[in-house]
């Protein structure tokens, strides 16, 4: 219904606007409706302004900036009805070290009592984790959990 969409859009947009300046330091972002006059049919677009740059559509950002924007949208949706745990599979692969830090910081800030299970190849993310499990295959085709020590 028109009402329900407008309410949900408002909520996720408020969350998104709050998260963006934390992942784009000195920047901002928002969701916009492609047709504000038609709430039943309108589409939604992601607009982002990294620090010192202009407000632009997500498609004009760099690879890592796009990922950070999409992750922020997913997290903004998550915060509407947070679950006690959240699983993230390799969301950090296009992020540089500083953006990995910012990403983890928003996890800790917005959902301090949640559990996050994060699959990653990124050493920085591994350093930030409270617990680490390694999954390997000693015997081909058969998974095995091993303990992990970071140097």
């Amino acid at each position: 219904s028109r009402e329900r969409f407008r309410d949900t859009f408002y909520k996720v947009n408020e969350n998104f606007k709050e998260i963006l300046p934390l992942v784009f330091t000195g920047g901002k972002g928002e969701l916009i409706l492609t047709d504000e006059s038609d709430l039943l049919e309108t589409g939604v677009e992601i607009m982002v302004q990294p620090a010192g740059k202009s407000l632009r559509h997500i498609s004009l950002l760099s690879g890592g900036e796009k990922a950070l924007s999409a992750i922020s949208l997913l997290f903004a949706l998550y915060l509407i009805k947070p679950t006690p745990f959240c699983l993230l599979d390799e969301v950090d692969s296009p992020l540089d070290d500083a953006n990995v830090d910012r990403f983890v910081a928003i996890l800790r800030q917005f959902a301090p009592n949640s559990q996050f299970i994060v699959i990653t190849h990124n050493k920085k993310t591994m350093e930030i984790a409270d617990t680490l499990y390694g999954i390997t295959m000693e015997e081909p085709g058969v998974s095995k959990v091993v303990s992990v020590r970071l140097n």
Binding site: T42, I71, Y78, F85, D89, E90, V118, I119, G141
Partner: protein, 168 residues
């Protein structure tokens, strides 16, 4: 309800019984390509009652049963158990006494499924209701599978609209 542990047996590449206990905070799952990390995500999603095969990277429900390796024959059953801390007071009254709630899902090669709560047989419906009451059920944004971020990046305005509608 926080997750305390997941036990995986016969599910995808987990031929042997595998247990992972989850503490508060951030748990990292690492390891080489192709070793089973995303399969752990699939196992948890499946145990939460995922019915759609397309969300489990397979075309048939039986695809989740260990289908053999060079040295091991295929298994006949897959089973995943999730143990939750019964800590938010929202669980249905019959579970009030339990400090933990364990849900188990099994599937057999013939397609039959079994469900258990604290080792007592139940229907899928009971598990779904338990999750609705305790706020665990909403899988849409609590599981971000490999490749999902790229899907969002490439989404058209109408697809983003649907994403938001699902959160209503």
């Amino acid at each position: 309800m926080k997750i305390k542990a997941v036990d995986i047996l016969g599910f995808k590449s987990f031929f042997k019984k595998t247990s992972l206990s989850f503490l508060p905070g951030i748990t990292g799952l690492v390891g080489p390509n192709g070793c089973g990390k995303s399969n752990v995500v699939d196992a948890i999603r499946w145990a939460l009652g995922e019915q759609s095969a397309k969300h489990l990277r397979g075309s048939l429900m039986e695809d989740v049963i260990f289908n053999g390796s060079r040295e091991k024959k295929p298994l006949g059953m897959a089973e995943v158990s999730l143990t939750f801390a019964n800590d938010n007071g929202n669980a249905p009254v019959q579970y009030k006494e339990f400090s933990e709630i364990e849900i188990t899902r099994r599937v057999f090669r013939n397609g039959e499924s079994e469900y258990y709560i604290n080792k007592t047989a139940c229907r899928l419906k009971d598990i779904t209701e338990l999750f609705l009451d305790t706020g665990v059920g909403a899988k849409a944004y609590s599981i971000i599978e490999q490749g999902r971020v790229d899907t969002i990046i490439n989404s058209k305005p109408q697809e983003l609209r649907m994403l938001i509608e699902e959160a209503a």
